[in-house]
């Protein structure tokens, strides 16, 4: 192979390998801020600790789904002593009952981390229904 072709290929490779660096020129490392509703701020405590909640909420929801659908058990006793309704979107005691704004609470981080949870294929955001 001619030397020019090799160098051209190499240039393309290096550009591709460094793609994240030039794609983000002018970008920031700041993650989006999530906005807590007044009710959530007042409650001060969620189901789990903050880090646990950030890392583990999807597994918790998965366990809740099994518990509700298979065992009809709808009450969750948290390690911090509080009771929570095992529901994503129904009622005051559910996730969205407290975190009222889905767009500002759920979606911001999900979009940032490129996660598209299939929760919303069955559940609806109560706000969307009333609108």
């Amino acid at each position: 192979m001619s030397k020019n072709a090799i160098i051209a290929g190499l240039v393309v490779f290096v550009a591709a390998a460094l793609f994240p660096f030039w794609f983000n020129i002018g970008g920031t490392n700041a993650a989006p801020e999530i906005e807590l509703s007044e009710k959530a701020k007042a409650a001060k405590q969620c189901v789990l600790d903050k880090y646990d909640m950030r890392a583990n909420h999807m597994s918790l929801l998965d366990e809740w789904r099994d518990s509700v659908v298979r065992d009809a058990d709808r009450m969750y006793k948290s390690t911090n002593g509080k009771d929570f309704g095992m529901s994503l979107s129904t009622g005051e005691n559910s996730c969205l009952g407290c975190h009222t704004d889905k767009a500002k609470f759920c979606d911001r981080c999900h979009t940032y981390a490129s996660v598209t949870p299939y929760c919303w294929e069955c559940h609806t955001d109560p706000k969307e229904v009333t609108q």
Binding site: G9, L10, R54, N56, Y112, V115, Y118
Partner: protein, 335 residues
């Protein structure tokens, strides 16, 4: 017990512990999370370019394509345009099939003695290396491309689509990505082949096992973080975006397992240019595949031929004209 794989295994395990303990015990997040990854990127790019430029500088004086079909011949003899190409287009298709489908691996055969009293040596087609290699490389590609979601903001739609296809089975939450599982099992298969097949084991060195163990370690820590121990993904994306925007930050609460994962990935990148993994760049330069078989159809001049002083006939005649005329020999120019 074979030290050829015990040493790399112990090495990878120690490297894992080094990063894990360094972060959990000594709080060296900045070292394993910031210094090492930057050094690894530099080592990877610099080493890769150096290696390929070294190859580019070496002379390729001969056409040495392996011919796996009928050469271009008389018009009524059908040529195999891909396996014995005489034009650049054929070479291009041949390289494409080689790079994307590992065609020469597809022809892999194994030699074994018949298990009967004749004990004859027979060769048979062995497809599993090809299947394993294809599964491994494509799964690894998808895993690497998927990881770009941590390094790009906003995340392009094609990545979201890839994630959708990869997670299409929708098992569990977070949903299983097929590529991660395939990568781990394919790497384990390629490792098992080296360990349990006596003929492959005999030719396997520590340099063959080390990257395999490293990749298995990377896959295991990655899978552990995603499905079992769980990490704060948004915090991690802040960290990775910090790296690519040159404003590195250390996320709060992210544990040693993540840094061990990053450390092993960095090692793989830094080790890449000096290892057999360079077949990634080398496959493009394989001289038995990337040349047209036109040895005789075209004139190929040896690139290091130096200029030879030629004594042409005109010179010869200038030297000996008078003597030639005296002897009655015919000359081109009389005077």
């Amino acid at each position: 017990m074979n030290q050829k794989y015990m040493l790399p295994l112990a090495g990878v395990f120690l490297l894992f512990l080094l990063a894990y303990a360094g972060v959990e015990g000594a709080g060296l997040q900045w070292f394993f999370g910031i210094v090492i990854p930057y050094l690894a990127v530099i080592a990877f790019i610099w080493g890769f370019v150096n290696r390929v430029m070294g190859w580019a500088a070496s002379a390729v004086p001969f056409r040495i394509p392996t011919t796996c079909g009928q050469q271009k011949s008389l018009p009524w003899i059908k040529q195999n345009c891909i396996d014995n190409p005489d034009k650049a287009s054929g070479v291009f298709i041949r390289m494409l099939l080689e790079i994307f489908l590992f065609r020469s691996l597809f022809r892999n055969t194994k030699a074994a003695f018949n298990r009967n009293e004749k004990n004859k040596l027979t060769y048979s087609w062995e497809i599993f290396l090809w299947v394993g290699a294809l599964a491994f490389h494509y799964a690894f590609l998808v895993v690497i491309v998927r990881h770009l979601r941590f390094f790009l903001e906003p995340v392009p739609a094609c990545l979201t689509f890839l994630e959708f296809m990869d997670g299409i089975v929708q098992i569990g939450l977070p949903g299983i990505f097929i590529s991660g599982i395939v990568l781990l099992f394919a790497a384990l298969f390629l490792l098992a082949r080296r360990i349990f097949d006596a003929k492959v084991s005999y030719i396997s060195l520590a340099a063959d096992y080390f990257p395999l163990f490293l990749i298995i370690g990377i896959a295991v820590t990655g899978i552990a973080m995603r499905y079992f121990t769980k990490v704060d993904i948004v915090g991690i994306k802040e960290f990775t975006m910090g790296l690519v925007t040159f404003h590195p930050v250390i996320p709060a609460g992210v544990g040693g397992l993540f840094y061990a994962h990053v450390f092993m990935v960095s090692l793989l990148f830094a080790y890449f240019p000096m290892s057999k993994l360079m077949h990634m760049g080398g496959i493009f330069l394989s001289p038995t595949r990337n040349m047209a078989n036109n040895t005789r159809a075209k004139r190929h001049v040896n690139p290091w031929n130096y200029a030879v002083d030629v004594h042409t006939y005109e010179h010869y005649e200038d030297h000996f004209r008078e003597k030639m005329i005296e002897a009655g020999l015919p000359v081109d120019k009389k005077e």
